[in-house]
């Protein structure tokens, strides 16, 4: 992860509001999984731990995908016939 200094992972401070700039930076780092990767590589992860983590992530992704589909289905609003099944 070597990039040009002060171009990558940089946020400008606006109106001397350091806190919100930090928040934006941390939010981006967290979202991209950079902080997670940093924390994970502090100590060696044994192969069995690696396997378990990958399997867990897979299951979670499948569950999330299906759940998102289900929520979308339940919350669907714009139907051609607003009262399907009613006379």
């Amino acid at each position: 992860m070597r990039h040009v200094a002060f171009i990558a992972r940089t946020v400008f401070v606006q109106n001397n509001d350091v806190e919100s700039a930090c928040k934006v930076l941390n939010r981006i780092l967290g979202k991209e999984g950079i902080l997670e990767q940093y924390r994970r590589t502090r100590y060696y992860e044994k192969p069995f731990q690696f396997r378990r983590r990958i399997n867990f992530e897979r299951c979670k992704a499948i569950y999330n995908e299906d759940m998102e589909r289900k929520i979308k289905f339940v919350l669907r609003k714009n139907r051609l016939d607003p009262y399907p099944g009613c006379l």
Partner: protein, 198 residues
């Protein structure tokens, strides 16, 4: 008594006239705003006080792209009258047990160095946010004495001093132009040390 709109609604619902005396409603009379949704909209959003709760705000800010991130003209852009590439740098190395601040000029030649240990915090006290803030304030004041007014901050590592050292630099009176994260992250690192036993 019942508002007329509600009476009309009940009449229509039942299909015949309902004597309003039969219906006992007290809550409707005392409620100031009839529509619950309207009332909720007028209330301020609840702040639960934890980091990440206001994440929606940040996302909308990111969507606006309100001049937050560097672009091709950044090195020549003026911050407090100085082009970005000539602003002195404050490197902050944060670790769980210490915080080291090093002020360098724009080329990267070190000028001032302070750490929590130098500041007088010893042992576990070095690795606290209070120590980091005190250290940042002292290096900031020293920098102001030497004529530095604006700096860009480069943070490396995670630890208790990450936020508070930046805050301390601001509290000392320095202008912070930008914040950069310089944490070393690798996706195929050499084998790290063995995990701690729990």
């Amino acid at each position: 008594m019942l508002p007329p709109r509600l009476c009309f609604g009940i009449e229509r619902l039942c299909g015949f006239y309902v004597n309003k005396l039969f219906i006992t409603t007290t809550a409707v009379k005392f409620r100031e705003v009839e529509d619950r949704r309207l009332m909720l909209r007028s209330l301020p959003a609840p702040d639960e006080g934890t980091a990440g709760e206001k994440a929606v705000d940040i996302d909308s800010q990111l969507a606006q792209k309100a001049d937050l991130f560097p672009d091709i003209d950044t090195p020549t852009k003026l911050f407090y009258g100085i082009p970005f590439k000539d602003i002195p740098i404050c490197n902050i190395k944060v670790s769980p047990n210490n915080t080291i601040l090093c002020l360098t000029d724009a080329k990267g030649v070190p000028k001032l160095l302070r750490s929590c240990g130098v500041e007088g915090f010893k042992h576990t006290k070095k690795g606290t946010n209070i120590a980091a803030q005190a250290t940042a304030i002292s290096i900031g004041l020293q920098a102001l004495e030497q004529g530095y007014k604006t700096i860009r901050v480069r943070v490396r590592g995670l630890g208790p001093g990450r936020m508070s050292s930046i805050k301390g630099l601001q509290m000392s009176g320095l202008n912070i132009a930008s914040i950069t994260d310089n944490t070393r992250v690798s996706w195929d690192p050499p084998r790290p040390r063995k995990a701690k036993k729990l």
